[in-house]
Subunit: 233 residues, 2 copies
């Protein structure tokens, strides 16, 4: 059996360099059914809570799902949505080997959802950020109060060696998700981070070069498009 | 004059421990007008690009604003919104010294917006995540494709010693923000991260204890409410 880090070892792993953790973060969907110590999960969530929220509302709730019955209900919703969206994706992307790899990994996650040891459901409480304007910027402020914390959770998971990904499909019906998790109407489930010790090894991700997505002062003005602008001289 | 890190020194600062960077992240709104080297800003954005996006769409654009005329136009919008929301906040929170401190810092930012050396406007391109369902989970997937990257940007800024915060108010009118930044209709500005070298020193943030916002399997089941659950035994 594989050795997994103890909570004490996990604390040491969280001391790894920020830059390396960011550069090596990736979605790890194929995970082992081995249990994950509560103290490790809670420490990762505790670090998530250091992220900013709109008007410092800290209007978040995190449901840690370990009960197989609850997982099965969320899994059923995931499969329902995946039958539709996964099918469309596979047809549209049949010539894109990178995307087909992602789709196969998601298919694995869908098929093995009940085996994933821990699901963290990140929720927003309150229908909106206090003292913030209604649309159009309202939704951005609202979701901007949960996803920074989710990214901390993902980075912390990366550091301790936990496989993690960011998914929303099992929550496609908020009504259904609220019912499964016993959430009051004032709490909206935003996304799920499934956590488990990885199966196999994972390589790096690829991204468009920074100069291709950065504009100076006005959209379309891209002085760093062809430069290796971030190498210190 | 204060010494600021060179791009080379900034690279070394990014090697600081992940956990410490998360624990010491905070909004730093009072910043110096001193310029920030482009290479440092671009490296922070490059790290932001390693965050996940829905269906790996990488559907983001970042507008780096240094032109005083563009800053002034965004600043005018910020002041417009702040007159309304800041006034409400100050009235509602007049007995909450911590919140009044935040409101004073925002007031400083509003008053000195044109002096902030760099604004990074994070944008989503495309009206939604490819192959993802429409409402109700649609908006969460959509904003979930930009805020993890924004959190990377904020953590990277923290590591190199740049003051940063996450604001949305100057973008309250998408129409106006699009006009100012020359954004096509297909690109939505989600938030702004103002960057600059900090004035003064900043202390730690406080958060609710993790056990107060974590539930097990069902909302309301809070076995870690009173425990110091994350201390390794």
């Amino acid at each position: 059996m594989t050795e997994h880090p103890t909570p004490h070892e996990a604390r040491a792993l969280l001391q790894q360099p920020l830059e390396e953790m960011m550069l090596t973060q990736r979605a790890v969907r194929r995970v082992l059914p081995d249990p994950v110590d509560d103290a490790i999960v809670l420490r990762c969530i505790e670090l998530a809570l250091k992220a900013p929220t709109g008007s410092n509302g800290q209007n978040w709730e995190f449901v840690v799902v370990k009960d197989p019955a609850v997982k099965a209900q969320l899994g059923a919703r995931y499969r329902q949505a995946w039958r539709l969206y996964g099918g469309v994706g596979k047809r549209l992307k049949r010539d894109d080997e990178d995307m087909l790899k992602v789709l196969r990994a998601v298919q694995w996650q869908v098929d093995h959802f009940e085996e994933i040891p821990v699901l963290v459901v990140a929720c927003l409480s309150g229908s909106r950020v206090p003292y913030m304007p209604a649309p159009p910027i309202g939704p951005s402020s609202y979701y901007g109060s949960i996803y920074p914390s989710v990214q901390n959770l993902l980075l912390a998971a990366r550091a301790v060696g936990l496989g993690a990904s960011l998914i929303t499909l099992p929550l496609w019906s908020s009504t259904s998700a609220r019912h499964i998790l016993g959430l009051p109407m004032s709490v909206l489930p935003a996304c799920i981070v499934p956590l488990g010790w990885p199966r196999g090894r994972y390589g790096p991700t690829t991204r468009k070069p920074v100069g291709a997505v950065v504009h100076l002062d006005r959209f379309g003005n891209q002085p760093w498009r062809d430069a290796d602008a971030t190498e210190p001289s």
